[in-house]
């Protein structure tokens, strides 16, 4: 068992935000926060990168449309060319509808898969569940987690800093 980090429990979102802000100002970078609902401004304080999911969704949409359009083109031009009422084999107005539907499907799938992978899900185990204060019975509070891998991390010093910031309890988390 090695030390993964230290988790501090705060009673309200304001205390958590303030603690995260202070710890970041002290040079801590490898931090994470947990809360029952999204807390405004916390992501910026923790230095989370801007979400790249919109680009993934756009890419998924384009990919879906291109793939399906190519499939249609292959089937009407090469695999099974049929003259329907004298219309050209490449009847783009009709194909555009299918390509559009495929773009929506591709975008939705890309959004779903991209969200999961950005959150590193599915994941069956996370060290933070080893913390007693994070358990189902005592949970529902606002948590600040500092990784032991942080260059500024000193077990005793970090614990003291968190306590002085108003943490209800401070706990070591085993990996």
């Amino acid at each position: 068992m090695s030390l993964h980090g230290i988790i501090a429990v705060f009673a309200d979102p304001e205390a958590l935000t303030e603690a995260a802000c202070t710890m970041r100002a002290r040079g801590y970078r490898r931090m994470d926060a947990f809360s029952p609902f999204s807390v405004r401004g916390l992501a910026e304080i923790l230095g989370m990168p801007k979400s790249r999911l919109p680009w993934v969704v756009l890419g998924g949409g384009i990919l879906g449309a291109v793939l399906v359009y190519a499939l249609i083109l292959y089937s009407v031009e090469i695999d099974y060319p049929v003259n329907v009422g004298g219309r050209p084999l490449h009847s783009w107005p009709a194909f555009a509808v299918i390509a559009f539907e495929a773009a929506i499907l591709g975008a939705a799938l890309a959004g779903f898969v991209g969200m999961l992978s950005a959150n590193r899900l599915p994941r069956y185990y996370h060290p933070v569940f080893n913390a007693g204060s994070f358990s189902y019975a005592r949970g529902g509070k606002f948590y600040l987690f500092i990784e032991a891998a942080d260059p500024k991390f000193r077990k005793g010093v970090t614990k003291g800093q968190l306590t002085r910031l108003g943490a209800q309890s401070v706990e070591e988390v085993e990996a």
Partner: protein, 378 residues
């Protein structure tokens, strides 16, 4: 400073109107038919803007939402220009036979399919329908201006019911109007989606213009929107995006159905609109009212930049004008630079007059309140 600039714009618009109306008169003496054709196109564009504003205001009366409260003042000014828009159609009413093929005196020369429609498409019934539509719109505009007035404690429930009924009646009136004044220019052509397409198109134009009027006065990219961390400009731009997509969907559906059917009297409508130079207008229309806004509205940076928003709304409004021009003008066009000169004259004349009124109403909202006298509270 602002007042001065608006006054100068009004002056410019009035000067353009005077010059335009003079050349309209001169052209009208030379060739009445060509002048009326050009005039009708511009008049339908201008009348469509207050009608679109009426649609948006009644829809917002039912849905609510911050975007609508923000654009309410410009939309009210637009609605208040409705009487002038209706007046613009009067010159055409005097000589319907020059513009509408079914109204020509020689009924026997019409194709069989059109002769069968003469029970509906005849001058007395046409005039009656127009009078009813005008009456509906004038009373609806009067009512809507009262419901959306900000300074009185109005009963929201009554306004909601009124908006629901008003929207239905307005929808019927726009349908009749679009079929009468636009579709019947080519009486062989039928499209059941056309009236809805016209209504959606009006909404796009009116909303784009309202966006320009709103952004010209205030920095909407820093005003708060409906949700946290969202600027008002984003909300408004997203609504414009939605309206634009609605129009694009309907326009594409009409094309898809007619292209799939490939029947001579229907596809003819598209054939004349994709040859003789009209195809360039079509490309411009697709770029300005679909491709460019589609790409730009996806970017949050554009939606949060004042210049970007103004430019985009301007492009969409120009696209809306091209849409009307592309749909209406080819049916009435005989070719020649002379006819385009008529178009310029009509745009300057009618457009200048209408813009001057719009500037005046936008600057003096209290005039609208006077026009719409408040109901007496018992």
């Amino acid at each position: 400073m602002m007042r001065f600039a608006v006054d100068r714009c009004t002056g410019l618009a009035l000067a353009a109107a005077a010059a335009g109306l003079l050349s309209c008169g001169a052209e009208g003496i030379a060739d009445v038919r060509a002048m009326l054709a050009a005039w009708l196109t511009t008049a339908l564009f201008l009348l469509g803007l207050p009608l679109g504003a009426l649609t948006i205001l009644t829809v917002h009366g039912l849905t609510g939402g911050r975007w609508g409260e923000a654009v309410r003042q410009p939309l009210r000014a637009l609605v208040a220009t409705l009487p002038l828009g209706l007046l613009f159609l009067l010159p055409v009413l005097l000589r319907l036979d020059l513009v509408f093929p079914w109204a020509s005196t020689d009924g026997a020369a019409l194709p069989e399919t059109v002769r069968e429609k003469l029970a509906y498409l005849n001058v007395p019934f046409f005039l009656l329908r127009f009078a009813v539509c005008a009456a509906i719109w004038l009373s609806l505009a009067w009512l809507v201006l009262g419901w959306t007035a900000e300074d009185e404690s109005r009963d929201r429930r009554d306004a909601g019911k009124g908006c629901a009924v008003g929207l239905i009646v307005h929808g019927v009136a726009v349908t009749v109007f679009a079929i009468d004044w636009m579709l019947s220019l080519e009486p062989e052509f039928t499209s059941t989606i056309y009236a809805f397409l016209e209504a959606a198109s009006e909404v796009v134009g009116a909303f784009a213009l309202a966006m320009i009027m709103l952004a010209a006065k205030r920095a909407i990219e820093i005003l708060p929107g409906g949700e946290e961390d969202v600027a008002l400009s984003e909300d408004v731009a997203n609504m414009a995006f939605g309206f634009m997509l609605m129009w694009a969907y309907l326009a594409f559906m009409q094309w898809l159905v007619i292209w799939g059917g490939d029947l001579p009297e229907e596809i003819h409508w598209y054939v004349i609109r994709s040859s003789h130079g009209w195809q360039y207008l079509l490309w411009l229309l697709i770029a300005g009212q679909f491709a460019l806004p589609l790409a730009a509205f996806l970017s949050r940076d554009v939606k949060r930049s004042h210049a970007g928003l103004l430019g985009l709304a301007g492009i969409v409004l120009a696209g809306h004008f091209i849409d009307i021009f592309w749909r209406i003008r080819p049916a009435l066009f005989n070719g020649g630079a002379q006819e385009l000169w008529c178009d310029l004259a009509a745009m300057a004349g009618a457009g200048g007059l209408w813009l001057a009124l719009l500037f005046f109403l936008a600057e003096r909202p209290d005039v609208i309140a006077l026009w719409r006298r408040r109901p007496a509270h018992g």
